[in-house]
Structures are given as C-alpha cells and as structure tokens.
Symmetry: C2
Subunit: 368 residues, 2 copies
Amino acid sequence: MIVEKKFKKLSKPFITERGYVLKELIVSYEEYGRDDGPVIFIAHGGLSDQHAAGKYSEEELLQGWWDGLIGEGKAIDTNKYRIISASSLGSACACLGIEGGTTSPLTLNPHTNKNYGPDFPEITLIDMVKVFKSFLDDMGIEKLFMMAGPSMGSLQSLQMAALYPDFVDSVVAVATAGRMTPGGMAMHNFITETAKSDPEFNGGWYEIGKPKWALRIIHQISKIYYTSHHGIKEICWDTVPEGKDSQSLRNANCKNYVTGNIDAQIYGRDLNCYIRVIDAINTYDLGRDDNSYEEGVKRIKCPVLLMNINTDSEFPPEYAFEVADILNSKKPNSARARVIKSNWGHLGCLREVTALDKEIREFIKEIN
Amino acid sequence: MIVEKKFKKLSKPFITERGYVLKELIVSYEEYGRDDGPVIFIAHGGLSDQHAAGKYSEEELLQGWWDGLIGEGKAIDTNKYRIISASSLGSACACLGIEGGTTSPLTLNPHTNKNYGPDFPEITLIDMVKVFKSFLDDMGIEKLFMMAGPSMGSLQSLQMAALYPDFVDSVVAVATAGRMTPGGMAMHNFITETAKSDPEFNGGWYEIGKPKWALRIIHQISKIYYTSHHGIKEICWDTVPEGKDSQSLRNANCKNYVTGNIDAQIYGRDLNCYIRVIDAINTYDLGRDDNSYEEGVKRIKCPVLLMNINTDSEFPPEYAFEVADILNSKKPNSARARVIKSNWGHLGCLREVTALDKEIREFIKEIN
C-alpha cells in the first residue's frame, strides 16, 4: 500500500490550555482505505509519528508501525473504512524529515522567523486531542466510528472519547491507562532530564539535527525499558547455541541490540519535541477536571477495548482492568480489558499483531 | 557499630587472566564481629563497595548497605562470626573518597606515576574472585564458613565456591544466577556505552571527579531499571491522596525520585571503574571453562542458598531455580532457591531485610 503525506492548515488559530496562541497550525496526516464510509482515526505513540501503515514509495524498506493491522482484509480494513492517521501537536515526524510534520518545536515561528524551538509552548495531552478534534472538524468528519492507537495514542483515544462522548463511537486502546502511571512518569522524567542535559542542548537553541548524545541515550535505554528481558533473551540469547563461547557471543548480541545502528534510529528525532510531547503525556488524567478520577473516566460513553501487555513496565495490565471496571460499573459490558501475552514488554503494542488483530476483529463484530 | 577502613597489600603481584601484571595490589576492607571464630566473607554489588555494615563515625547518617543483616544478634551475627567485607578489584569506593579503595583505575600506576585510568587492565569476574582469595590467604584464613553477597557479590560467591570448593563451606547468593543474564547484559552494555560517551570522557583520561553527565544518567536510570514500577508507585504515588492535583504531585514526586539529589549520589563514583567492573560482570559464567554450563555449576560442593526477587528484571527468579536444580541433581537438597517478594525489583536484595534475615537464619540452622 503506497501512501501519501498530506498537510492541512487548521481554519482557526489554536489556543493551548495554558493560553498560548498558535496562529497557524498545520496538521500532517495520511489516509488509508476508502474516501467515504465509517471513519477510523489512528493516533501514534509518544516517540512516534503518523506513519501507521503502508510505504511512501516502493523503494522504502519498512512499512508503517501498525501495517500488520491496517490494510485490505486486515482488522482495520481498508476495504471497509476511511482511515486517517495524524501526527500529534508537538511531535517530530522522523518520517517526514525535519521539514515536515504537525506544528511542533521544529516548525517556523511566524513571529520570529526561526523555528519555535524551546519557545514552543508547554502543552497538555488535552491540547493534543483538541488539535485532532479541530483537524477532524475541518476535514468535515462528524463522527468517528472508532479512535485507536498504542501507548500515547491509546491515551489520546480515551481522552477524545471522554471530551467528546458523542463524537467517538468506539475506542481501541493498546498499552493504556486512565491516567499516567508511576513507571511511565518516572521514565518520562528521566527522558526529559536526559534531553535537557545534552551538552549541545543550549537551552533548546541547538542546531537542528546536531545534538545526538541524549537521543542516543534515550533510544538505547528504550530498547531495554520499553521491551522486556524476555524479548532480549529471545533475540540475543536463544539464538546462540550452548557452547564454549556462548556467553561472549550473547554479550556481543546484547551490545549490538542496544547500541547498534543507533544513528539511523535517531535520524529526524528532536529533543525539544520529545520534551514537549513527553511532558504532555505526563499531564494525562481522565479525572483531572472532575471531582474524582472515576467520575472523569465515566464521561466515556462508547464501547471500549483495552489491551495491555503482560510484560509492560509502563502500562501493566492492572491499569487496563481499572478503566474497564469503572466503565462497566456504570454500563455493564461496555468495556473489555484483555491481557496480551508477549515477550516484548511495552513494544508488544506494535509487535503482537496476531493477538491484537484477533481482539480487534471480535470487538468490531460485537459493536456492529 | 563503628567500623574501620583497613588496607592490605597483597604479598604477591597479581596477574590477570588476560596476562596483565599488577605489581602492587592493595585490597581495602572492613571487619565486623569477632577476631576469631568462623569466617563469613561479604562481597558487594557492582556499583557498590565494601561498606556493608555499621558506620565509620557517629556523625555518619547512613549505615552500610546490609546493616540490617549484619550485627549483634542479626542473621549474620557479629557475636558469633568474624565477618570481613572487601572492595572488589577495579571498584571505585565512594565510601573512601577517591584516594582509597582496592586497586582500581583510580589507583596510582607505579609505572607512570599517574592513576591507571583506562590503562587499568580489562578484568574478569574470575580475576576479582582470585584477588579475594589471595587476600584471604594473606589474612591467614584457611576456610570460609560462608561467602555471601547481593548481585555481583552473589556471583562472586558462587564463583569462589566453584573455583575453590574446599575453601567455601556455604554460600548465600541474593539476586543471582549461574551466568550473566540477558537483561543484565543488555543493561550493562547500555551503562558502559553511556560512560564512554560522556563528553568529558576523553578516552578515559578525564580529570578525576569531573565527568558528571554519564554518572547522572547511570544513577538516574538505575532508580528505574534496578527497582520496579511497584516500588515507584509505593513512594511516588500512594503517598499522594486522591484529589484535584494528585497527578501533578505524583509527577513531581517521580521527577524528584529520579533526578533529586543526584550529585550527592554520584560523589566518589568513577567511569573507568564502572566500565571495568561492569565488563567483568558480563564475563561471569560458571561453565566457562567446562564442557557445559551444568558441569561448571556442579563444581560447587557446598550448601547454597539462592534468593531472587520476584520483580527483578536483571535476575528474575528462574535463574536461581536453574542453579538450584543443577546442584540438586548432583546432590539432593544441597541447594535452596527462594523467591523474595518485593516491590523493589533488583534493589530488594538490599531492602528486603526481614525476608532475607529469616531465610539466612534458617539456612545457617540447617547447615550447622
């Protein structure tokens, strides 16, 4: 499936929750499937971007990150649905190089004629969701058949359903919670602290593309924290037969797993973007503006499928069950929580295509 | 208990496995308990040092890291045993400032009159154990009633019992395995890569005490990787009552947990030492010089107590059971594997004093 990068300028300026006016707001996105029909909106993970499926050209080696789920005859079926995937406010879009993407610290600031950089406002997860809503309004979309995504995308999906309960008809949330979790908060603070401590950070006024030290650290540790020792064993250990030098070979595999090819992986990533996006994720709390957390969760009216990975340190299964229990106490059987077994920890939300596919298909059958 | 730092110069030069001659080798250590009686030798964790119990002076705020287990009437009873704790070859001894400690990259190189720095040889875990053996020989100790330790100390204890089966009468190994684990190998490679990428690393020829970035990164991520999201929840989350700003307060707690007071924590630590010690841990493999891993493990003749923490990503329980099963297949009931339940992941090996105490007492009763 060949897909096209698209851009839409919002019809109105956007005012963040903390009162900053973004005069011109561009959203970058791509579409898969039908031009008409029920709309499924896909939201991406924190360090990711809109490129959820297909390839931009035949020459590209890799598909989008949920290509196993989105396509002809797949669980998110391009034969049946109009599927849109957009990049979040504040995100660096590695897929687009440093010139493209939704408005972010990389975007030109019309007031100063240089990129926003650290002048880009602090944003909340609700800001990201409101930008998506404005974008979808401008696209003429009156209802979402479904909003779906992994990790940050799952939080945005639940938040959208809570903020606009008549707009969202169903949610699929993978690696998720109703508010940011302790493990996630701690890791996010490590990431932003590391980003700011890059020797070339210069208060955020670095030459774009230049700081690499912190990006390397962040992407290397992500391969440990956002996976699981089971997954590391699978690819670094079990692939080496028992023998005289097995431990040395395993160590070499582990070193290569963590540190290999790192500069290719950090290409197009940006520290200011990471700081803004990750701080935004840490604001996530469905109950923030209500009298209690539970009251906030209960704003969601639609059916919800929540799937967490058994080995995930950031979103362990209990957080999916917590949200499901609250929703079901209000409307029985409206929410389903599932545990996806994976060696891959948090990254199971991308890798465990077979299990996710099966659950999504069953969910769609039930809600139709 | 007030304890004294001591130093012993080994009677002979030490030759590493890779053929480097350390002409003068000093071991720093401390002693607790009796001057006579059965000897218990304590070995420390990878980023730690000899200061296992007591205080150097009344003014000190903190006790040694296993003070809950070592003392009058405690599981490792100073009324009954002569207890020695020594710093490993290659370790930086934060407790001693940068002037003290066992021979390491910080020590003066007699050939060059500056500190060894990156000229300090690459060492193996077996090198560390052989240095301990030479030290104990020079101390006139003919047998160990027990060797015990957490993490790297547990690996050294098992390695000592395998290398010198007639020298060690029992082992207590906490947070352990028979060879380095996949999760541990990956994390260690992250740590050493981070250390070498410190902007002031300069090939290891930095001004001692000056590089801080990498040390900060390492110590911050250790608070996430070497603990568990359960522990983070316990101190950052559950301490905040539900309410309007609970998530903001929790986020502030998480940030403080990860990043707070970090310069005090890295004081006296050294990147070259970390690199040498951590690379040494990654060489650990009881089966290295045998026809199989199992054969190597079976060199151990004495009773062994292995205790792993249920939430430990580096040494999950299965690695304790693996060693116990191999030993028991040779000599039934010679090895006991226990799972210690903890919210604290790997750091449970220091924190779960009550559970560790109980198991060690029972073990000592059985072997006496």
